[in-house]
Symmetry: none
Subunit: 424 residues, 2 copies
């Protein structure tokens, strides 16, 4: 079944407010096999509101609206939908008594305007709302259902779960949404596309979306099916193909961010880590410590912006900086080795680069970044030039450093391989 969501309220058309109810509604609807095919945000204007509902009624069998059921002049959802479906509004005395009671309980008198909230379109089912004054309404018309819900999330959410969901579940059959998400780093959107296109093209019934996010590419698979076993088998087959095509570039299949994957590897291997950062300015340390319990693996880090501090805090030889430049693979390696020795951690990470907008040269333009890790028996390093602005370059640099740690464990730890295969 397909549905549309209409969010009502002029405040949702200002630069300060977003409709977020639709995220909750989408998640709940998807879980019982209802697909959301459109979301519309419309202001408190009778004509525009009527048009939004009219359009949706022509397209889908289920419309869920939120907002516009309040007591004031600009709350028009009730009246507009009643009009559109050719229903009269009648005062419901039971609701009126309930609203009056609510005000009485708060020691106040009900303002006259609230009578509007007791008006109900003919033939509508009332969805009781014990957390607010306006009840929800369920209307049916030629097999289509129109559900009007109040806007405040703390009213809408329980009302939806308690009263709307059971009604919808009776209507939908076995079709459910089955989905997978692969997160990839070190390969751009187009390159991911080229590698996996031959695979997913063979499964036109599965919706494949490739999304570019900072420092990573995500592949989302969505499959609506009434056959759980077949859906699982199909998605497994596609994912197996993707795993071959993308190999170790996939860092997560369960939604986890790169720092979470690395945190688990560190924990499983009883390893500790320390960082010496220049251009990322603490971003790597911040990401590694954003995870609860990070003190068990993250020992410490230094942000050594100046050359002097690179020497003072991570023992980078001043002559090396002089000869190779502060932004060089040699200095990245020296930072990684220096901080590991100083802190006594299993791993040391070094990052140096030019985040811009200033500081670039012909030889080393803005975006040039070197990262390195030092482990007991050697070092690894990578260097590249990232596109984008300062924020983006810093993020990608921290991503490349985390990926270096991830790949190190991937090929140097039996437990990490097992764990990531199991999670997948």
């Amino acid at each position: 079944m397909k549905a549309e969501i209409i969010a009502v309220g002029s405040e949702l058309l200002t630069p300060d407010r977003l409709d977020t109810n639709s995220l909750f509604l989408t998640e709940e609807l998807n879980a019982i096999g209802i697909e959301v095919v459109r979301k519309t945000v419309v202001g408190d204007n009778r004509e525009l509101l009527a048009e939004a509902f009219r359009g949706a009624l022509n397209r889908v069998p289920l419309i869920i609206s939120c907002g516009g059921l309040g007591p004031t002049e600009d709350d028009l959802t009730r009246e507009t939908v009643a009009d559109l479906l050719g229903r009269k509004l009648r005062r419901n005395d039971e609701i009126l008594r309930y609203i009056e009671g609510r005000f009485r309980n708060l020691g106040r008198e009900m303002p006259e305007v609230n009578v509007r909230q007791a008006m109900v379109p003919e033939g509508a089912e009332i969805l009781e709302n014990p957390r607010g004054t306006a009840p929800g309404l369920w209307l049916e018309d030629s097999g289509r259902a129109v559900v009007l819900l109040p806007g405040p999330p703390r009213e809408l959410k329980p009302l939806f779960r308690e009263q709307v969901l059971p009604r919808l579940e009776r209507r939908v059959s076995g079709v459910r949404l089955y989905s997978r998400e692969l997160r990839v780093t070190g390969l751009g959107e187009s390159h991911v596309e080229q590698r996996i296109l031959p695979i997913y093209k063979r499964f036109p019934e599965v919706q494949t979306t490739i999304l570019a996010a900072p420092g990573e590419t995500q592949v989302h698979l969505r499959f609506w099916s009434d056959d759980a076993a077949r859906a699982k088998k199909t998605l497994d087959e596609i994912v197996r193909g993707f795993e071959i095509a993308l190999a170790d570039r996939i860092f997560s299949q369960d939604g986890r961010a790169l720092e979470e994957v690395v945190a688990e590897q560190l924990t499983l291997n009883n390893a500790t880590i320390a960082a010496a950062e220049s251009c990322t300015g603490g971003l790597l340390a911040q990401r590694l410590t954003s995870i609860a319990g990070s003190s068990s693996y993250f020992l410490g880090g230094v942000v050594c912006y100046s050359n002097e501090l690179k020497t003072a805090w991570a023992d980078v030889p001043a002559e090396m900086i002089e000869a190779k430049g502060a932004v060089s693979s040699e200095v990245a390696v020296a930072l990684a080795e220096g901080i590991r020795r100083r802190v006594g951690s299993t791993l040391g990470v070094g990052i140096t680069g030019i985040a811009g907008p200033g500081g670039g040269s012909d030889e080393k333009p803005v975006g040039t970044v070197y990262v390195a890790i030092s482990h007991g028996s050697g070092v690894k390093d990578r260097g590249t030039r990232f596109p984008g602005d300062r924020e983006s370059i810093r993020w990608q640099a921290s991503q490349m450093a985390l990926d270096l740690v991830r790949v190190h464990f991937l090929y140097n730890s039996q437990s990490a391989i097992k764990s990531s295969a199991k999670r997948g």
Copy 2:
């Protein structure tokens, strides 16, 4: 003039993603007197996409879409709109060369799929996008304008400001939106409301919104008027009232974040700074270095998670940690003083606390944070207990530390006061 925004992308119809471009677009459009009357989110489906554009073309003279201009199979905006307006798509060799050049500059070959991004509907104006591969497109049809923009915000925003805004400004006149934004820290939403309600109540024609954001409270004023002088006078009067009511809790009136304000103060005072962080794990350093040119005032920082590193890197006496606990005002002060001495900076900042979810006790529950700054002639410190989760506590802690620096300069630097008054 009225406009609609269409956000294109199946990922925006999942429970995980929201269209946020429309907030930016709305703000920019409002500022030149264009009202957004509807926002639609629609998936990567040719038929549904066509219907969304068709509906909007029937209602408004201006449609702005974002997304669906990528290189992949499911990027359909270009083709759909060309079809709808009866225009043929032609390959534009100039764009193609530009895209190829972009890949070449990054040392990569252009994947074949990217040729799609060089396809242009007949009669379309090309909106150059130096930050990405897909250019924007401007189409006109019977007096209506359809503007197709790429989805990534870091491409969309400058492209809109540089290429779309000037074209729109030629078309509109009259009523404009006048707005102000005050950013406040150290005072919650309700306390801000209590202090400023008596002031803004006197101006019902101005829309006042109080928004809670992590570690800060924002006050937005919006006033639609065709009289620039009157609008300015009214907003000035309200802001003067707010300045008295909120005093030094206002840190910015020009949209700048707290770290930007502090960065300017440091620069104006020729001052340098260094940080020793525990619970914030590098977040403060990362924020201070997120600003271009930060190497002129940020010398370095340490993230000393373990007690040993607090002693080794910031000279916090082991006996003090033993006696007072690592999370104490004494240790925050010692961190600030130690790092300042070590680095030789004008200011030193120390942060220690319990970000949780573990590590709390009855005496020092999760959320307990101490921050301190050390300057040439003394120290200042603050301690509090923040609500919220790990991420929120860490953010608020970094905010409190930055605010301590800000207030220090506010009362210890003539130039900073002048500058912030002028900016305001």
